[in-house]
Symmetry: C2
Subunit: 275 residues, 2 copies
Amino acid sequence: MAINRIIYVRKTDGREERFEARKVFRTCLRAGAKKEEAKKIVSEVIRRIYDGIPTREILKMVLKKLEGISPSIANIYNLKEAMISLGPSGFVFEEFMTQLLLDYDFKTKHHIFISGHCVKHEIDIIADERSGKKRVFMIECKYHNISGIYCGIKEALYTWARFEDCQNFFDAAWLITNTKFSEEVIRYAQCKNMRLLGWRHGEEACLENLIEEQKFYPITILRNLDESTRDKLFEKNIILCKDLIKYDFYSLSRLCGIKKDKAENLIKQANDILI
Amino acid sequence: MAINRIIYVRKTDGREERFEARKVFRTCLRAGAKKEEAKKIVSEVIRRIYDGIPTREILKMVLKKLEGISPSIANIYNLKEAMISLGPSGFVFEEFMTQLLLDYDFKTKHHIFISGHCVKHEIDIIADERSGKKRVFMIECKYHNISGIYCGIKEALYTWARFEDCQNFFDAAWLITNTKFSEEVIRYAQCKNMRLLGWRHGEEACLENLIEEQKFYPITILRNLDESTRDKLFEKNIILCKDLIKYDFYSLSRLCGIKKDKAENLIKQANDILI
């Protein structure tokens, strides 16, 4: 698995960074591949990469290899992309987060108007802790439909100012994104005691861990799910693989107006992931 | 000038509003047309409008009529569009505002980094009042390159939070835009003692009045100024008509690499406006 030369990979936002084999290795393990399988994939990647290779191309390579082992492993590896494909608007991401928090023992409401001290605010999610400190959080969701975009300082600043204007209603502010936070945001949030939840942020409570723990996979994790089918499923409030497997292929096909073999294939894929 | 039927016009953002003849009338006067000329133009517009007409089409009609009276009047009428055409990025708008405030007896600096209590901030403009209360303002500039977009509550909120984090350095926050503010922003700013400057906002200190008072017209007010020439002039820091008339056509042509007859025409137009 050793690599003797330094290779730079190009990220989605155009920046370059040093290729790290252990990143690919770890992500294969996360997706459920065995150690030996992960090692093999990394060797294959090392053999084929070149300076300036887009990270997206590496992702493709890995996915193809994982698919050969198990289609459901490839799906889970694809979680990051799946969280980007909830779009185009942020609505489904908010719905997704509302349900995920409910699973983590919060009482949640979303799209609530609150009259602050100066103006009225539309709050994305209000989450009440049912146990412990029983705090009430004002949650701002920031969804990006392109990967490689960081949730930046302006989002953190306006979340704070909104919280400050609604202080009578909430104990703390919480900013949630489907991508990463900039370092500035992390510093600002620590300084203001603001909670953050995002991709690869924090040790335990990063978004991907919460999702994996509860097998809270969005349907966009299913390979070959085309946009039109995705939108039909979202329209019927089928956002999660968990939602999908409640149906048999016949009723799913009728409910969403999709072909029976497509419905059957989706349900099968979802079942494989949730095992 | 009377209109017997109610006509709805379609604004750039898609919303409809009732056509008001006096708006056209007033704007013609602002541009320097005589009362009789303005009345004639309004009658012509009333004769030709129809339900659902885009406001842009009315603007075109009026401009054509004003041009017949005097090309420089038409240019001034076009100020709103000119402020939209400073783009594509907000950089020129910030430079423009820095210079305008200097003309209004502020000492100005721009793009300054300030270490706030929590994080470092890049401040668009810092403006020191030279007389009166001698306050120091932290200014956030919000530039839109499409008309009909309001400066919204998120901008006001993050401006406030930034100010709050830098309170040791400034006496007040100030939000400036080249378009209009939403009603929410106006309420929030009043509540927070935040200063606003934008299009048609406030009675005396709205952006168009400040510009007209000092004849602080951007070169984008010149009709038929193509994008490529605009960018060449901006590159040489020629942002205002005032800057342009400092040159003779020969040196302007050489400095910016534009044709002599084009340079001559631009200088002539700028002179006409500044008379």
